[in-house]
Symmetry: C2
Subunit: 260 residues, 2 copies
């Protein structure tokens, strides 16, 4: 599978400009990638007030979703993106993906909300999900979720070969992108893709450092701090090879319960 991550600048609150960035890159990549991933809350930008995020939130089949679906059909590229999701009175920090034929591949709501800001804006999800794509079983996580080794283990126990985590990671947490993400891949024998923002947004500097890691913990592609597309071709045969070399999943003497 040819996986591409877009590490974009943010135009907070300007979904139209965000979509234009996505559309231009998706058209560039058409025929050269199978799946394009963009960051957490890509639709709106991340660093907005709870009120603003809630007012911009859309249902899973809202106007931005219809644009993304049309873009996937046009380019033949599957597209996975983050957005504030409205569901009745509740708003979630969600991702969803559309296939090149317009089918919805997955919809996931963030399980772990890291800050008072996020807890003011969003309700929490309750389930992990997986979807089939390009011969892989893929599990989406969002930002803080992937910092818990338990989340990745649970995805892998549910069959995942590839974990995809859109994120919004600040520069002073760079050690998470640099060290923790490759270790998540290594310790659970799974590909991990981590798609962050570039540049800065309001009072926040982003770390950039988006990456794609192999199931042996090797970094297959790594972004700098600025706007960038990174990509890698993932070979599913690497997964059983990594798990035969380091048999953590077989040897662990602990069992995981949850999510609760």
């Amino acid at each position: 599978m040819r996986l591409a991550l877009l590490q974009p600048y943010s135009h907070p609150g300007d979904s139209e400009r965000q979509f234009a960035t996505l559309a231009a890159r998706a058209r560039d990549l058409a025929g050269h990638a199978d799946l394009l991933v963009v960051p957490e809350l890509f639709m709106t930008g991340y660093r907005l007030s709870a009120e603003k995020l809630q007012s911009l939130a859309e249902p899973i089949d809202g106007p931005f979703a219809r644009q993304a679906e049309a873009l996937a059909r046009e380019t033949g590229l599957a597209i996975l993106y983050g957005f504030p999701e409205r569901d009745g009175a509740a708003v979630y920090n969600s991702v969803q993906a559309f296939a090149g034929d317009g089918r919805r591949l997955v919809h996931y709501r963030k399980l772990h909300l890291p800050s008072d800001d996020e807890r003011a804006a969003f309700a929490t999800g309750d389930v992990l999900v997986t979807f089939s794509f390009g011969g892989f079983t893929v599990a989406p996580l969002i930002c803080y979720d992937v910092e818990f080794p338990e989340s990745v283990r649970a995805c892998v126990q549910a069959g995942a070969d590839l974990v995809i985590a859109p994120t919004a990671l600040r520069r002073h947490w760079s050690q998470i992108a640099q060290m923790m993400i490759p270790v998540r891949a290594l310790e659970s024998g799974v590909f991990v893709a981590y798609a962050n923002w570039a540049g800065s947004e309001a009072d926040w500097d982003y770390a950039g450092l988006s990456c794609i890691c192999g199931p042996d913990g090797q970094v297959l592609a790594r972004a700098g701090a600025d706007l960038q597309v990174i990509s890698a071709t993932l070979d599913k045969a690497e997964v059983p090879k990594a798990r035969a070399r380091l048999t953590y999943l077989r040897d662990a003497r602990f069992r995981l319960e949850g999510p609760f």
Copy 2:
């Protein structure tokens, strides 16, 4: 607490020479450290046949233990070391520690055996343990044990502020010492000390790279590849500070059961 790790060369099968290395370094450190840690199976060396390890194994109060206890009394230094432990018909890959007053601080048997070689030589332990030392709650793990995020989480849930892992890590697994150990500290908000062998032993090249990591994932001390003592003064106040900054332990939506 002033913690020192000795990263020694191995003299496989020559416990007397191993003890002489330990004694010389303990005498150097007397008055300058509180706890000295040496690698996995320090007493005998690691890279021996199952038969050899079993024939050299000693009970927890065997001759090497009595020497280590006397050395702790002489130097006033607590000493934690790995050894093949005989208990009736069974042999374990164990660590134990003696305090400066000769008291046994802890005795622990490796939970996760990583290879056919180790499984041929040793029975597995079944429990995690902690001990109090210098105001810290300390949990020993051994080598492969610490590669499981679950092990460190479980130690922390049992109250540990400091995890100490004697190890025997080969050079081609350097990413474990370089990346995984700091991440274990960061993700569970706990000091982690990792004491490896230097140089080579029979057909094995060791990674060296022993380290002491703070609960914020920062490397406080890091060895090279050769014989070396590294040390750091650990401030227990760093632990609640790290756990307030990154609230993983509070926010995880998974529960751990085990060890089984």
